[in-house]
Symmetry: C3
Subunit: 269 residues, 3 copies
């Protein structure tokens, strides 16, 4: 049965392909290529622009900005803040991906500075979201040490405090704006075995929210549902993480609104 | 029928494989991996060396330098200028790829500074070349908003003004030195759906012009023809952009001068 | 016949998958994605953390650190030295990959500074190891101009001088601690046609030595043997470098200790 939420997600994917929103991705070195290919496969137009000298100016031209601190440095943080500030000031949505923000003092401070600039959506793994909400987590490095279930309350607390949509991704994703919450199933156990899938997903959230800036919860669910369906499809034929990676891109590129409505596993929590 | 131009292109590809020229690629973070793999598939030896502390010194050791401003920053621009200056002074060809140079003031100034250092070849999409020639374009971000046809006059004007070979790549490529012009067909509609294909092509232009520094027009046509043939071949079996990417590399790696002569779609304009 | 060394290698691979060591990789922009995917395929947890502001702090959290100077710059060198120093001080093993260290003055000085910080393992191609030992080499850019055989004596001299395990990788790899030496066969002629395979291998050495810090020679042999077996397997079905790349990841992800013991070609030199 196609729920109203699922129907909106399907329509939004078609709209992303129609509008091809320009999405400024400030992401880590590991993820850049995959993130760009994911956005292209979904019909968006990615642009990786990070320098303080132009990041703010470019943000005003973009439909949305996504910021991922995976390979953070002082100069990049400056560009991230410029872009986030410009996005906020010009009413453009922006997405924060606080990779391993708890690991070092530098990351903790950077994430605090970015949170002040009011992200529209925050996407992370369970350990990241729990730590961001001030809860104890088992995070270590960039991989999660906690289950999504354990992070659900943290996500709701964080969403209310930050006035943002919060997405916890894992085996079954959880998305909330602090009032409404949604779970998205699907995907594959191979996904965490491929680097930067989460970072690329953050980029896709940016593409969706660029096209539906007034509905960030639905836009986030749409992006996660696309990953769930494409991931499930790729897993049917993949022999391992190497073959999964390109089959996932093929599946995502072939996905349209109708298929998304038919196959996405989205339920209100 | 194999024209003299096509025959030269075929011979040049074989010569690239024989000489394996060292090509210094200063390119964007998104493109680095693909550019290196494209150069290796064509038999060249890529080296990504960008720091101001060594970019000029390394340029003197290289057969050619390629510079792409995709993920520009102040420090990288410094290294680019060092490398371009060293290439120019030591008589080495260098190739400029002015990604989205019109998008921000920072990019516009950077491109002006690089043009002063006399690139041998300038490669861009239609919007980039039109804007570089001072014409109105519909460019937005890194993807072209204009057709190659619309950019042909701009390319000729730019070639004469910059004393450079200018290549406009798209559905059918156009290459000109301001006097002679060539069109290269082939490729696939999947190519713009894979990030950094244009940037990687810039690297291959560098490899070809390293081996034929006195014939930059022909060298540029050769690189574009290689992409056209390998792209057409990969498209025959690809299921989407994910499978296209690796099949393109396989096709390029298998391409030799004889096959290039037989399959390239090159015509004098 | 499974020798004691081979048996230890097989057990170590299983242990890497069981412990999933956190490995801090400071590597070049070209290699980051492949290196992360290789480490994930082997069961490790890679983290690319390079900024001077946190590289040392993160090294103390990691099981091992790997440093590759492929796309070196002044700021990155600072982060590398912080991480190497922290690793050395906290008794964590670290691996040095001195890409093209002989090419420029900047690289030579950087490599000298890193060697002072006592790498546990040094991995390079024949030209790099020969030049590091002070011998004449035919290196040019990042590709080797010399055979592994020619570099064996240099490797032993360097191992003794640097109190490190030295690995020379090529057609048949050579690993030595200055007393015991091992050769590892296998792999494929396609491996040098894919960029950053050596850099990714350096990352895998880090994962192995993180789990067996007291046996760096065996840990290094284990990583090289994994590449040899996965490379041989991928080459059986690959059509070229493009298909080899993902088939290699699939093969590595499927490899376990038993298969490694059965197929690795490891002999005492």
């Amino acid at each position: 049965m196609t729920t109203p939420l699922l129907s909106s997600c399907g329509d939004l994917l078609d709209e992303v392909r129609r509008q091809s929103p320009l999405v400024q991705c400030i992401t880590n070195y590991v993820a850049m290529n995959l993130a760009a290919n994911v956005l292209l496969a979904a019909g968006a137009s990615p642009a990786m622009v990070h320098a303080p000298a132009e990041a703010g100016e470019f943000a005003r031209l973009s439909g949305a900005v996504t910021i991922n601190i995976g390979t953070l440095s002082t100069l990049w943080l400056e560009g991230m803040c410029e872009a986030a500030k410009a996005a906020h000031e010009s009413g453009k949505p922006w997405v924060l991906d606080p990779v391993a923000h708890f690991a070092t003092a530098f990351r903790r401070k950077a994430t605090e500075a970015l949170l002040v600039l009011r992200p529209t959506v925050i996407r992370g793994n369970a350990s990241e979201i729990m730590a961001l909400a001030g809860d104890a987590s088992s995070g270590r490095g960039v991989d999660s040490g906690d289950s999504v279930e354990r992070a659900e309350v943290s996500a709701m607390v964080l969403a209310r405090r930050a006035h943002a949509v919060v997405a916890v991704t894992g085996a079954v994703d959880f998305v909330t704006d602090g009032r409404d919450s949604v779970r998205i199933a699907g995907g594959s156990a191979l996904m965490p075995k491929i680097t930067a899938m989460g970072c690329a997903l953050t980029g896709l959230v940016g593409a969706c929210v660029a096209v539906a800036p007034a509905a960030p919860l639905m836009a986030t669910v749409c992006a996660l549902a696309c990953f769930g369906v494409a991931g499930s499809q790729a897993a049917q034929t993949a022999q391992g993480p190497g073959s999964f990676a390109w089959q996932f891109i093929d599946a995502l590129a072939a996905l349209d609104g109708t298929a998304l409505k038919a196959h996405a596993q989205v339920t209100h929590a």
